[in-house]
């Protein structure tokens, strides 16, 4: 019994770390217009809309976070193998992984923007200087919390995987959670404030993203501020719940029966599918009809 209580405590702590990670991850990726919003940011100059938005397309978020977290975990593992204290090892590993992330972000922005020279999109160096550091700070929070969570799973819950492999798995899960949950707030709504709500993106509106802010010109820090309000916390809850339920079902039900956690997992998925469906129908009914564009844009 005491073991289960201890396990639930670790589960709650891991869930809390995951929530912070999800929130930081989504804010980071939205500041960089990574994932969902990227295609329109990339397209805008080709349609004549020159903008001052950070465009760091490293890869989709799941592979990118797979690398950042796996690298942070791998470096932390190596430092621990060199007899360095785990907390210090995780901090050092995450810091070095963030350095790699920052370098990738700058090269992605420079490369994409330089290749758009034909359309008159200049490289804004101040964007690189001010926004890369902000994404790096958010990425550090996301990587550190995820690696710490993986370390907790191994040292406190006795997970059999080595740290880097667990980092890879949870890094991809983190990127997927942020990409699926948080990005639509920015990519499908905030970029299209000039369109009627729920109108979708017809071809004629492609690339017509919001480029001017309440005062002056919008840059990606405005998007960070916006993401921190809605998309970030939503992603945080999503990833936190994934981690919490994943550990909770194993910690609590493994004692009863070896099949227990699997059955509980299926039940949890079904429960969430029902809740999601209810919310979707409720939202459609209350926030107006959804009129599909004649030719659905696929990105």
């Amino acid at each position: 019994m005491e073991e289960i209580v201890f396990g639930i405590g670790i589960t709650a702590l891991a869930g809390a770390l995951a929530t912070v990670a999800g929130a930081a991850e989504d804010t980071e990726s939205d500041i960089g217009s990574q994932g969902d919003p990227n295609s329109q940011v990339q397209l805008a100059p080709q349609m004549g809309y020159i903008h001052r938005i950070f465009n760091k397309a490293v890869a989709g978020e799941p592979p990118a976070y797979g690398l950042w977290v796996a690298l942070g975990a791998g470096l932390a593992w190596a430092f621990m193998a060199m007899q360095i204290n785990p907390i210090l090892a995780i901090v050092l590993g995450s810091a070095l992984a963030v350095f790699v992330q920052g370098v990738y972000a700058t090269t992605a922005y420079l490369g994409r923007t330089a290749s758009l020279a034909k359309f008159g999109q200049p490289v804004y160096i101040d964007i690189l200087k001010s926004m890369t550091t902000v994404t790096m700070a958010h990425a550090f929070v996301a990587i550190f919390t995820t690696v710490a969570m993986c370390h907790l799973m191994i040292s406190a819950l006795g997970h059999p995987f080595p740290l880097p492999l667990l980092g890879l798995v949870w890094g991809i899960a983190l990127g997927a959670a942020g990409s699926a949950t948080g990005n639509p707030f920015y990519g499908k709504e905030r970029q299209y404030q000039e369109q009627a709500f729920g109108a979708g993106v017809p071809i004629s509106a492609s690339g017509n993203i919001v480029r001017y802010a309440e005062a002056g010109q919008r840059n990606s820090l405005d998007n960070g501020f916006f993401s921190a309000k809605l998309g970030g916390p939503a992603s945080g809850i999503c990833f936190g719940l994934i981690v919490f339920f994943e550990l909770w079902r194993t910690v609590v039900f493994e004692e009863l029966n070896i099949w227990g956690p699997i059955i509980v997992g299926v039940v949890v998925i079904l429960l969430f599918a029902i809740i999601d469906r209810y919310i979707e129908v409720w939202a459609r009914k209350n926030f107006g009809p959804y009129s599909a564009a004649p030719e659905e844009a696929s990105s």
Partner: protein, 283 residues
């Protein structure tokens, strides 16, 4: 909406890059055998350089393949390259001194199977698909083998599955602290997969220039080398790892500054804290 991928024309022909990449990576990876020959670990960094030669070649292959309109397929190409490559590299590593050559042959077979599946079963019908996937699988395999060699100092399987741990003053050999046992191979997998696709993914567009894209490939390679060099402190001697780290940092600094200079050359304008310059005809 799928954006049409345009690539710049001109530059070195692809076949020439292929030969340089294949021969370069093979020679460089065999140079790490000097470690076994001289019973030392100072030559481990040649593994990282082999990975860079392979990455430059792979970047050009991805550019070749993705000019057929695979927009969101660019990162996927990196994943399939390393996915096929890691299997070939681990199989090849078990064959002792023939490891790099066996790795290339196995990777070519895996790539050919993947290419035939993509073209004839999934029916993607892209003319260069089979050849490109063969090339990408070899690139992925050489990247994994190169970086793994750099981490542990040898391309032989036994070296990759044995690590040492000191316990109460005694040095004990264990599986848990090795490159494969500690899943450092997973880190190498991701480092390679992102590095191979990033250069073209970052530089695609009508103004793409081959020299800039390939310079970025080398930069990504050296950046991966820095990470692996730091990890290698856990496996090989301090001085050997330190030499690898210094070489990676010098290479990275050189390629990064070069890449920034090339971006400045190709950019429409290089502005600091300037407002949006609306095009003359209006949006």
């Amino acid at each position: 909406m799928s954006v049409k991928i345009e690539v710049g024309a001109g530059g070195i022909p692809h076949n020439q890059v292929l030969i340089y990449g294949l021969v370069g990576s093979l020679v460089l990876i065999y140079l790490t055998y000097l470690n076994t020959y001289f019973q030392t670990q100072y030559f481990a960094f040649f593994g990282g350089l082999a990975a860079i030669a392979a990455l430059i070649w792979g970047t050009d292959t991805i550019k070749h393949l993705c000019s057929y309109g695979l927009g969101t397929g660019v990162p996927s190409a990196g994943m399939i390259a390393l996915g096929s490559g890691v299997v070939a590299a681990l199989f090849g590593a078990t064959t002792g001194i023939f490891a790099p050559i066996v790795t290339i042959i196995i990777a070519a077979i895996i790539g050919a199977v993947a290419g035939l599946m993509a073209n004839h079963v999934v029916r993607m019908d892209i003319p260069v698909m089979i050849v490109s996937l063969i090339e990408l699988a070899i690139v992925g395999a050489m990247t994994v083998l190169g970086l793994a060699t750099m981490a542990c100092g040898t391309f032989e399987f036994l070296g990759m599955i044995t690590g040492t741990v000191s316990f109460l003053g005694f040095t004990v050999q264990t599986y848990e602290t090795s490159v494969i046992g500690g899943s450092i191979i997973a880190v190498i997998f991701m480092l390679g997969a992102i590095a191979i696709q990033h250069s073209f993914n970052a530089c695609l567009g009508p103004g793409e220039q081959q020299d800039r894209t390939l310079m970025l490939a080398a930069e990504c390679g050296f950046l991966s080398m820095i990470a692996v060099a730091i990890i290698s402190f856990a496996f090989i001697g301090t001085y050997a790892a330190f030499i690898a780290l210094v070489i990676s940092i010098i290479g990275w600094l050189y390629t990064y500054t070069k890449y920034i200079a090339l971006s400045k050359r190709d950019a429409y304008a290089w502005l600091d804290a300037q407002p949006i310059m609306e095009p003359k005809g209006g949006a």
